[in-house]
Symmetry: C3
Subunit: 262 residues, 3 copies
């Protein structure tokens, strides 16, 4: 079974994603799975986070195409990244790198061989004209070296990792999902080794201070109450039981947070 | 051909649905069909209605996973429901039951065998960690009894059925679709046996009274006029030709309606 | 490999699209690819444009089902259109014709044989009850003549083609995408033969006059600046680099535009 997954900021109304799928299916015969097409326009960080959040759940050998590409048509490069068990394809602007780091042992190739692109390349839609046919040719077994040389000067992107001590955790907000749940860059399994579920903590966020509980899941606090838990990405998450934490706390991505648990 | 269908309130922006698909495809090789991921957050009734509306259209043996799960991480159970020709998987909160009743002859199993769950189970995402792998193992032929015992004390959910007499029909609104078409719990085929298309009727809805026509389809009245018809789910529907009935009538789910046709 | 593609104005919340997929998969075993379900309700022109924009990217023999159908339940006909390498199915209201013209050499058949429809046909959902089973039977190899006779009096629809002279291009807006990029009916490859990238031009749009550049792609002008380029559909496009041109210029579909490049 071959899988191509797609992540873009193209939305689902226009025919852009379908054009990509048509191109892929004209060359190869993989399953095609949508990761998301609702990444905020040109928001590389958001695309990088969502790609990173799914990459380890796909079978070995999945070809993940991620197009959040404000620089399309400029001289930014296209790249293929191979990791321990995944293939990532997209623009060289950092969007692939957090997923590559999580997946591990990665190697980056430049995409320059026009043999594997559509004959007529538009200047505004490399997702369709370059990245989709490249993905399909990889599914068909074309070796990575065929597309271009290995490079080391790719553009890096990193969410950092929050700092955890015996008495506190410091980090920042890296993603807010559609439920308004707030994901931080503080690692859940590390925090869990220091404090137990049910522990009272102090959360500093958006210039305010909240006394609340570190709990196993949302339903361990009353409706509409704020809580801190370990989210499904193994990252510390701030949420409101059956409510929208981002709205309630009036925060945004990159805001700093601090948790005291002494 | 094996099919897994997915219904959730997870939305299509975040990577949650893709994580579920990755988990399923790491274990089994079914086709995956999206029913909807735009169920209103935590709205079990709405999810139950949409699941019920599609269940009889899928081939025998389809594994339908439905996750609208405000109680995730609490002690609510997960269940598998087998019906005459479908399999339903989801939380034990009623979301599966109207579909099970429509499909017929159903049996409920509790999901307790951790052998068929992901090794590391988050407390906030059973859709990915429990329900997806269970669906995949069912596709692979694992017998239902392997997952847990049969139970009879599942949580029930019922849309009732509106009352039809020779002179009137009484019911309530159970769903409003994206076009603003209003679905009631009054059975279309029963009404059709009593009155014919073209019949003048009186509709009481939202404390107002409307004199209008029971018609074969939208285009049998003028643009922007209210009408009553039998919708595609064989339920009586109130609509506006090329307009939005829900907005025009200012009503909501669970509001009562009455039709006089004497 | 058989492919059925789907374009509708049904949205992605309700179960309507899933019902169509269930019907198709109950009869045949094609891959199913979504083109779009977010066409503006009843907007035949918009559906026709999106279908036209994708049709040439799908493999030969793809069965494209396009349902934007304000006249459902009236006496409007259903049609099958075969082209040089595609099959198109939908209502006879023009939605299929621009794609048919682009694909080339098309023939139109009426759909009248009830043998290939669902047994119980609702009056409000021919997408599920007629067009989906017809698509599935075509995938299974039923000859086009089996569904009904060839017809020539189908409803036509045409986006026209803008006029280009040595000194100017005149056309109109035919589509605005989710990024706010404005597609015109002026052919890109024809314009390209007359003026080069980097050329200064004067754009008349929305009763205003703009002095700007005809460029290779968005990033050739500064952020938030208006530009004219050749879009990915080979049509002249008006855009704003990393911005929304439709909002900035306050225009709408069918507005006329004029470009002077002397």
């Amino acid at each position: 079974m071959n899988i191509v997954s797609l992540l873009t900021d193209f939305g689902i109304k226009d025919g852009y994603v379908a054009q990509m799928k048509g191109v892929i299916l004209s060359i190869a015969n993989p399953r095609i799975i949508d990761i998301s097409h609702e990444i905020t326009t040109h928001n590389i960080l958001e695309g990088a986070f969502v790609l990173r959040s799914v990459v380890n759940y796909f079978p070995k050998g999945t070809v993940n195409v991620a197009i959040v590409d404000p620089g399309v048509g400029s001289n930014r490069r296209g790249i293929i990244v191979t990791t321990r068990n995944q293939i990532l394809i997209g623009p060289d602007n950092g969007v692939l790198i957090p997923a590559a780091n999580l997946s591990g042992d990665f190697i980056v190739y430049e995409i320059i061989n026009e043999k594997y692109m559509l004959n007529s390349i538009s200047n505004t839609f490399h997702g369709r004209d370059i990245f989709s046919p490249v993905a399909a040719h990889i599914v068909n077994g074309v070796p990575f070296e065929e597309f271009g040389n290995r490079i080391n000067d790719y553009i890096d992107l990193d969410f950092d990792v929050g700092k955890i001590t015996n008495g506190s955790a410091n980090g920042r907000i890296i993603y807010i999902d559609q439920f308004g749940n707030i994901t931080t860059n503080i690692e859940g399994n590390v925090l869990k080794r220091i404090i137990d579920h049910g522990k009272k903590i102090t959360l500093f966020i958006g210039n305010k201070k909240h006394e609340l509980l570190f709990v196993k899941s949302y339903s361990f606090v009353k409706n509409k109450q704020i809580l801190v838990t370990i989210g499904s990405n193994n990252l510390v998450e701030i949420a409101v039981n059956q409510g929208n934490a981002a709205k309630k706390l009036n925060i945004k991505v990159n805001d700093e947070i601090k948790i005291l648990f002494k």
